[in-house]
Symmetry: C2
Subunit: 356 residues, 2 copies
């Protein structure tokens, strides 16, 4: 198990060039934001709470730990050139790695692979066969392809995501959630910070994911979060997830407040994640106790917001994209302040992805 | 005086292309975001409150009125090519209109005008004479130039703004506030939404600017807002402005919470405004009554947030940049919701300027 001494980052105040290059320190516990870790995260609540409560470092205005968290969700930007556009009805709906596109060549009835004219046979873009005219036809045909490629695309969830050019626009077809990054489809989600206010101090409810969860087992998480499947509004999805993930009744969850959105884009191998997360806050009664109903959360803790901030910037204990939503919370609730060096850069970096 | 019937915009639900082109409706009362209006705004509180309280239009999820307000702070983007870089110590600190640069040619001791090599004598960029080495020397020399150009640069305020490449970076010199847009200098400000919560409903304190104020006389405004002069932190500035503009004592104003930032860039004639506004919220006691102490505000009203939203999207009554800060408030407090068409576009448009 990683001890706090090795897992926590101890950072001195950054120079401007450090902020701009956002170098990562050599963490001994490091989880990818794209590929699930092979093993359960090696820390417990005691470890997390010890880092959280160490208030004596005087580094509250040092934003470098937050910058590293943004970086860890936005990797591989130098690899963009390895991807080609995935075009449906003249709209770019995704980006496909040239190597992955080679695997799609066999499916003539589904994909049209446009190659360059210079004889090099380099893929220039990918589109769908014109015979696939309806969303239903496309969904079915691509679903069959994904079944054939199951060895390349692990972790099939049997959960369909809508494929559009941007949020609220026409849905061209639906795609298995686990396959979305292989087609560079934008995926939307809802993340909620559940908090409590006592005597003017704010506290965040933090979950620890089940050790048997398929993705990011054992890591820290929001009180409530989930992908946005086809055919459900953000608000209805938050209410559903509140019930399933934290046992929050509808009478409370209808008060969940939309507060904005964050986005990131992350390239790893053939996978190009383009995620947009709609952020919500829910102020809960001080005596409310969350209760996970779907077995995906091991346990919850209520911790002071500055302590949660310490975990975000000093460790890799949170599921990577949760860090960004908590940083957004820290901005909106005044825990990150304008006179901290790098304030505006960090604020903007929370929407590094195509936020549309 | 403009009546509500002519001043308020009545908009049908927008199509996607309308959202993208963000056309402006032909308002009969229209104020520039760059040049102060020549006359006092022609409306009173009665007019504003009548538009505000008209809740029967069923257009709450129509964001087109908000898009128009963003547009009115981001004009002239097709004119960017008329400006050249203003470079100090190898950093771009601003943008100067080629026509305005011609007026700077006479001041050989202060400015270096680099012209093209093709014999056309076209200005390529503007920098400072290398003999001006210290911030003090530069501030003094440019101050003298501005005095000479007083007929071109109206509204001198004798208030100095710091000139940097981005917030928190070294200050190369200081510049008269009214001259900032002529040099395309980024200007920073603090804007605060003061609100009250009663029985779960939120209300915004709105000010009406004095009819004798030099800029935007008679228009609606935030409870507290101000430019960020040289040598004062955001937090100290908010506390100072709270006292002067609304009589809010330090014991209350220290609770003002930083919540993010908005930015815009607006070109009109020789002027290139590049403003970044740090946004604050302050939750006030229900029985607090603001009291203007510097004569800049005529009167205040406390109105329900949805009513303030109606004024923003249906009229041009607010000082233009206040609209953006109120729209940001509406996002963060859940009054603008993800399932409204154009949500993500509008959210991003609040930082259309260089937010650094």
């Amino acid at each position: 198990m990683a001890t706090i001494a090795t897992a926590a980052a101890r950072c001195s105040s950054p120079t401007r060039s450090q902020l701009l290059t956002r170098r990562r320190l050599p963490f001994s516990v490091s989880f990818s934001s794209a590929a699930p870790p092979a093993a359960v995260a090696g820390f417990g609540w005691d470890d997390a709470l010890r880092v959280a409560g160490d208030g004596g470092r005087g580094d509250e205005s040092d934003l470098s730990g937050y910058f590293r968290k943004v970086d860890s969700c936005n990797r591989g930007m130098d690899k963009k050139g390895d991807f080609v556009k995935f075009v449906v009805e003249d709209q770019v709906v995704g980006y496909i790695h040239k190597g992955f596109a080679e695997h799609l060549r066999d499916f003539h009835d589904v994909f049209t692979i446009i190659s360059g004219n210079n004889g090099s046979n380099t893929v220039e873009n990918v589109s769908l066969q014109s015979s696939l005219r309806t969303p239903e036809d496309r969904t079915h045909a691509i679903g069959e392809v994904i079944k054939s490629l199951v060895e390349m695309i692990p972790g099939i969830r049997n959960e369909l995501y809508p494929v559009t050019s941007s949020y609220g626009m026409p849905v061209y077809f639906s795609l298995e959630r686990a396959a979305a990054p292989y087609f560079g489809i934008k995926a939307y989600g809802v993340h909620m910070n559940g908090y409590v206010e006592k005597d003017g101090q704010k506290f965040l409810w933090i979950g620890k994911r089940s050790d048997v969860k398929q993705t990011y087992p054992g890591m820290l998480d929001h009180l409530v979060a989930g992908g946005l499947p086809y055919g459900i509004s953000c608000k209805e999805n938050i209410i559903k997830e509140c019930e399933e993930e934290a046992g929050i009744p509808r009478s409370m969850s209808t008060n969940a407040t939309s507060v904005g959105a964050i986005s990131y884009m992350d390239i790893e191998g053939f996978r190009y994640k383009r995620d947009v997360l709609f952020c919500y806050d829910l102020k809960l009664p001080a005596d409310f106790l969350p209760n996970n109903e779907d077995g995906e959360v091991d346990s919850f803790r209520l911790i002071p917001v500055p302590h949660a901030a310490n975990i975000v910037r000093r460790t890799d204990f949170f599921k990577p994209n949760c860090n960004l939503v908590i940083i957004d919370f820290l901005f909106r609730h005044g825990y990150i302040q304008p006179d901290s060096h790098g304030y505006l850069d960090l604020l903007q970096s929370l929407r590094s992805g195509d936020c549309s």
